[in-house]
Symmetry: C2
Subunit: 341 residues, 2 copies
């Protein structure tokens, strides 16, 4: 590395014949500096190749210009759908616009998020945090809420909902619309394979599904509601069960494409025709939904926007001490073969 001494604010000041204070004020665009001085100083900075030192600035201002992004420690499978990378792209874009840097959690042990969060905060590495997912009674949310540290959440919290900045889709409406669509194409007996019961998302989607069903006077039937994980196994397992029911449903709403894909595979192998015998609609609009041999009707949650908005919420929390603001990001339903009648 070049060992040449880095040029500091002092060097610029000397060269310019002004005080370091003045240079500092030029850097932070203080309005109280004359135009002439400003230009002179800017010229000197340019000549010397001056660039402000981030650590010194943070220390003096007690502000880092950095936001921490907490990725969940996830299983392999989660990366089969591009939610996280897309959300991060949205975050990156918004952060760049708001002039923030992004410090990414490097947690890898399971349930280590809280340790990383505390480290980021206590050592003053970040001005605020984005949580990319939430559990029921999430201890991270609880902690951040307790100490009133600026943060925003992608998803919906089950506690302190009107004190926590968060951005989410309208999962209720998405499930409702999707179920309505299944009904519109003539389906009368609609099952649902949902995700983990503890997830708020699951609860909302189930509610939307129920509402649509009840509105059509298709009685809600407990036996047609299944809950599992976001993996293929869940799909194959319940697909088998569903296909073998005495009175099988003629449609199924699934909470994730990979799960739907698993179910469709089973249906296919059992000679159940999609969508004639059973129509399938799902969530996440992943590669599988698009490229599967039977393309799957699916809800695009718009992960990039979710990420983008989470930064807006966070900046509002940092700059204006806003708490409890909520943003709803619109989803898009892509209708495909699996519900095409």
């Amino acid at each position: 590395m070049n060992k040449k001494r880095t040029v500091t604010i002092k060097d610029v000041a000397e060269r310019c014949g002004v005080s370091p204070s003045t240079v500092s004020r030029v850097i932070s665009k203080s309005p109280r500096i004359s135009k002439a001085t400003t230009e002179k100083v800017l010229a000197c900075m340019d000549e010397l190749g001056y660039y402000p030192n981030a650590a010194a600035r943070s220390l003096a201002r007690n502000r880092t210009g950095t936001i921490g992004v907490i990725m969940p420690t996830t299983s392999e499978d989660v990366f089969l759908n591009p939610f996280f990378p897309e959300a991060i792209r949205g975050i990156a874009k918004a952060a760049a616009k708001a002039k923030y840097d992004i410090l990414l959690s490097s947690n890898y042990e399971k349930d280590e998020e809280i340790r990383v969060i505390k480290d980021f905060i206590r050592s003053s590495k970040v001005d605020g945090l984005i949580l990319m997912s939430s559990k029921l009674n999430d201890e991270c949310i609880e902690y951040l809420y307790d100490i009133d540290f600026p943060f925003s959440l992608i998803g919906t919290p089950n506690l302190h909902i009107d004190k926590v900045n968060h951005v989410d889709n309208d999962n209720f409406m998405a499930a409702y619309e999707l179920t309505q669509h299944l009904s519109k194409i003539g389906k009368k007996r609609i099952a649902m394979i949902a995700g983990e019961e503890e997830l708020i998302m699951t609860q909302r989607r189930v509610e939307g599904y129920k509402k649509a069903i009840e509105e059509k006077n298709l009685k809600f039937n407990k036996e047609l509601l299944f809950t599992g994980s976001f993996d293929e196994k869940t799909g194959t397992k319940y697909g088998k069960i569903i296909a073998n029911l005495d009175n099988p449903p003629d449609a199924v709403l699934v909470t994730d494409d990979l799960v739907a894909f698993g179910a469709i595979r089973v249906f296919d192998s059992l000679g159940v025709k999609i969508p004639e015998d059973i129509a399938v609609a799902s969530f996440n609009n992943s590669v599988l939904a698009r490229y599967s041999s039977i393309p799957i009707t699916s809800v695009d949650v718009n992960a990039v926007s979710l990420g983008y908005s989470s930064v807006e919420l966070l900046v509002d929390a940092i700059d204006n001490e806003v708490r409890g603001r909520k943003i709803i990001v619109p989803y898009t339903i892509y209708k495909r073969k699996s519900t095409e009648i």
Copy 2:
């Protein structure tokens, strides 16, 4: 936010009846402090809830404990395969182990990487950088090489190859083995759909393909080598051309699953049987390769390991000024239906 003054090294020192220097030495585990003092100080730190301030530390030590990760500003499509998220997981894991934080580039305008890199370096935000991809004659590599700033590259550079720390698969061998496999199952006329010609990766894979062909005395045929992008269109376009050749090949090696998938689609629609008429082998082992209606034989490049190793290389560059070290990460070939005869 809690406005209570943060507890500093000075508070701990007073409470303990020692000097700040001593507290500082305890923090950095200096061996020259007596065990008794160390324990006393640790106890005080605990009582007061002391936590070192990162900015102050960086400023005093001229070291940040942070590595910058430069994500390419990519098109949507790139996220169809999980290379980046997986590589980042590997980076996160290794960084946590080496006690580094990760500063993620928040570039979003195309070709803005160099600006972000300069900002990270000039404002002393990072001790080193990881480049997650490289172009031919990459200006970022050139810049970092010029100023001799510690960095590592995921991929292979075309310039300064023995001065740049980098980690890659053996693309030559992977293509060679894959082609050999196609030959072993009885294929005699093997085509290749490669990626962008400017990529080092493409060049290596083409070389491996050629070598395998020539070893089998299957003459290399320019007309059977196609180059395009990493998207489905490339696959459908060349798939059509290939299927309509007067003397079509009986196998095709493809540089990415999505491309392969496009080609297979076309073959399928033209009644060309996979693998009987044309066998297909590909790279990246993405969801599509695994779950396509005709599962595709594919090379897993092991993105997590690539990310993990890139951190090792970088740490070696930072701590020991190592330059030009190279790590080869083994790939894995998953043989599937598309080459099963």
